[in-house]
């Protein structure tokens, strides 16, 4: 049932033309800017970030960015980087891609819901649910063969995430509770439940380490294989391919299935979709559950890939990871390719500004990680302001109409 049906007394006058829904605006936005606008947005954000560096510390922003870039390991792709430097770059790049895999998945979690006109802020809760389920199934059944155990544990994470996201979906579909509010509340609920589970005397706490709030490690059979780098030194695991596969699944489900068609139809205009016989509530639920599954998968892949245990810190850090997902979905404009590159950008930023990789002589890593947050905020702020794009789009339409009137009419 929609919100409008429940609100009993209709306003005496018909409201003015309803504002286009968020998703409709994004669809417009999507057609309007091509790849240019996100690029401009990112460049603008980095430019402002550079100004901040210059003004507050008087350091050369280009050198700072260069140092951050070197920390990301992306210089591995340059053929002139050789020898020890190349080995170092390879290690850094593994870390960047490791973070990127997670970010792709949480980015999809936000993007999928966006395509249904829903704003999934609940990535954090869904990610936590995925971590907890993943670690639990990873610890259980140590005798299971490698591949089924791995798959089962990852899938458990996705399922837990789907349930956690699905709660918000059901609330939206049945009583019209706004998904932003309910997902925020679910985030904090998940955070505290997880803190209880892994915390002192919690049911999942490792009985051999009574003074550390951490779970047992997952059994070896559930760990994801490392395909690049040293497994002892946190090499890159196959979760990276899981993330790439998820991007493909995301595209196929949205563009080549009935479900995706319905989800997009609801996202464009829920009323029109209802009129066309599409169950709006059902799609709200499914979209949130599927979104949650991606975020949950991110959680379980992180656990099975490189964390192996859930501790209090990883529960708390989850909010940062999930919120970057929002920036990624917005910057990547909810398309698979866009999400890939946006995740690469933010993964690189996170890894490049980490205490391990950034030379404190050049720039203080603690400052740099906050700089990342500022850049992230600016990106979201600028991407959200699609009015500029709207003007551009209209100007372009007018221009085209002046040149080829019949071509525009056919659109």
């Amino acid at each position: 049932m929609s919100e409008r049906e429940i609100q009993a007394p209709p306003p005496p006058e018909a409201p003015e033309e309803p504002a286009p829904s968020m998703a409709a605006r994004f669809a417009l936005y999507q057609r309007a800017g091509g790849v240019i606008t996100p690029l401009l947005t990112a460049i603008l954000a980095f430019f402002v970030g550079g100004l901040v560096v210059l003004v507050t510390t008087g350091k050369n922003p280009i050198e700072t960015y260069k140092a951050i870039f070197d920390g990301t390991g992306l210089n591995w792709f340059f053929p002139w980087v050789r020898g020890v430097e190349r080995d170092l770059a390879a290690e850094d790049l593994q870390q960047t891609l490791l973070i990127m895999s997670t970010l792709i998945l949480v980015g999809i979690a936000v993007a999928f819901a966006f395509r249904c006109g829903l704003f999934n802020i609940g990535g954090q809760g869904q990610y936590i649910a995925g971590m907890i389920a993943g670690v639990q199934v990873g610890i259980w059944m140590p005798d299971l063969p490698h591949v089924p155990h791995m798959v089962l544990a990852s899938a458990a994470g996705a399922l837990a995430g789907a349930i956690w996201g699905g709660i918000a979906g059901i609330l939206k579909a049945t009583v019209g509770a706004h998904e932003v509010i309910s997902t925020i509340m679910l985030n904090w609920t998940a955070l505290w439940i997880a803190s209880y589970l892994v915390g002192f005397n919690g049911p999942l706490q490792d009985p051999n380490q009574v003074f550390v709030p951490v779970t047992e490690a997952v059994s070896a059979s559930a760990k994801l294989n490392v395909w690049w780098g040293d497994p002892q030194l946190q090499g890159l695991h196959i979760g990276f391919f899981v993330a790439i596969a998820a991007l493909i699944v995301f595209w196929v489900v949205l563009n080549r299935t009935t479900l995706g068609y319905e989800v997009r139809a609801v996202g464009f205009n829920a009323e029109a979709a209802r009129y066309g016989g599409i169950g709006v509530g059902r799609n709200y639920f499914l979209a949130m559950a599927i979104s949650g599954a991606f975020a949950g998968l991110a959680g379980s892949v992180d656990i099975l890939g490189w964390l192996f245990r859930v501790d209090l810190t990883s529960v708390q850090v989850s909010s940062q990871i999930a919120f970057i997902g929002i920036a990624i979905a917005l910057l990547g404009r909810n398309t698979p390719v866009g999400i890939f590159f946006a995740a690469l950008l933010f993964g690189a930023l996170l890894n490049g500004t980490s205490t391990r990789n950034l030379d404190p002589e050049v720039f203080q890593p603690e400052l740099a990680s906050n700089l990342t947050l500022i850049i992230q905020g600016l990106v979201v702020l600028f991407v959200g302001a699609d009015l500029l794009i709207l003007y551009l789009w209209r100007a372009r339409l007018k221009l085209r109409r002046a040149r080829h009137p019949e071509a525009v009419a056919q659109e």
């Binding site: 704003f119 309910s182 679910l186 505290w192 439940i193 209880y196 906050n370 979201v380």
Partner: protein, 410 residues
Amino acid sequence: MTTRVESVLANGRLRIPPARLAGIAAIGLGLLAFWLALPPSTTRSELVPIVIGGLGIAAGLVSWRAGETRLGWTGVCIALLGIFGGLLASQAAVENLKVVITWSAVIAATLRFATPLIFAAIGGLFSERSGVVNIGLEGMMLMGAFFGVYGGDKTDSWVLGLLIGMLAGAALAFVHAIFSIHLRADQIVSGTAINFLALGITGYMYIDSYGQEGTGDLPQVPNIDLNWLKRVPPDDLGAFLEKSIGHLNLMVWLALVTVVVAWIVIFKTAAGLRIRAVGEHPRAADTVGISVYWTRYAAVTISGALAAMGGVYLSLGFVHSFTENMTAGRGFIALAALIFGRWRPFGVLSAALLFGFASAIAPRLQNVESWATYGTLFQAIPYVLTLIAVAGVIGRSIPPAAIGRPYEKQ
């Protein structure tokens, strides 16, 4: 529908429909089931919470059958929670409970925890009543928390610190206003960006100006000592009053005043009427000559300043220092309190007090021996309550009609 017909048939004799009455009774019984197991009555029998809670469940179901779906289920949920809490409490040793739960201390703590929520939620009330969703409350609080400390440290005066903090919050709110009013960005996206920005800006400046050492000595917002309360007869009551509200921070009282002022401004002045008109039907407001843009800018900026007061209270009034991300989601609880309180000042106050109570009692319950294991679980209570409230509050909270929609001049 039937309930409405019934109440009309009752012809004013019975103003509350019986179905609703049953639902309210269910909620009351649920709370009673829990309360009876706590001091001062501390019932030890497990039967009491079960029986009373069971009655609550029954009342909730009756209410549900009679058509009050939401209220009925809310009642059932609360009654279940009451049984659960009551059973746990009846397991605990009485002496232990009495030590842990001193009601005067709980009241003081409730007010302390509620204060930042009240400021931020009243701020959100201004913004949302004017039709601009403000999910950036968290960020604006954080700005207040940091710049209150920063300003207070530089000027060595908490008054100036408070003002500088409010100014910083208002400035960030102004950015939100530009993007959501003139640039017509999606207000939720813009608010999310505001939260990121605040986190980045305050974290950056904190590290830049204080480093890892922390903030050191800061001017503090003074406490208000009401020692004369002790002399209120009878003695017990006097001592209780003095202990519970006798030594509260100045800003706690300021928060309560803010609620009253907000109520007067919103419902009793021309400015408030304008804010509400702009939030309900901007076109109509525009037609009679109210500037929609100007009103919204003013409302959003005020909301930033108020939210920042909540932040200043946290840093200068409560913990006397600043740490990165110290608001820790309070802005989001304030948002929940705003919805829970149905966008009304006194509703917001009650919601904030309820959440404050939950925050105050949660760490105390952890100290009860047999509950220590469940410790952190209690911290989730405010959020679960909100979730239940959003799903099925007593009546439905209906937001201002034009909320979240950018206005386009014709």
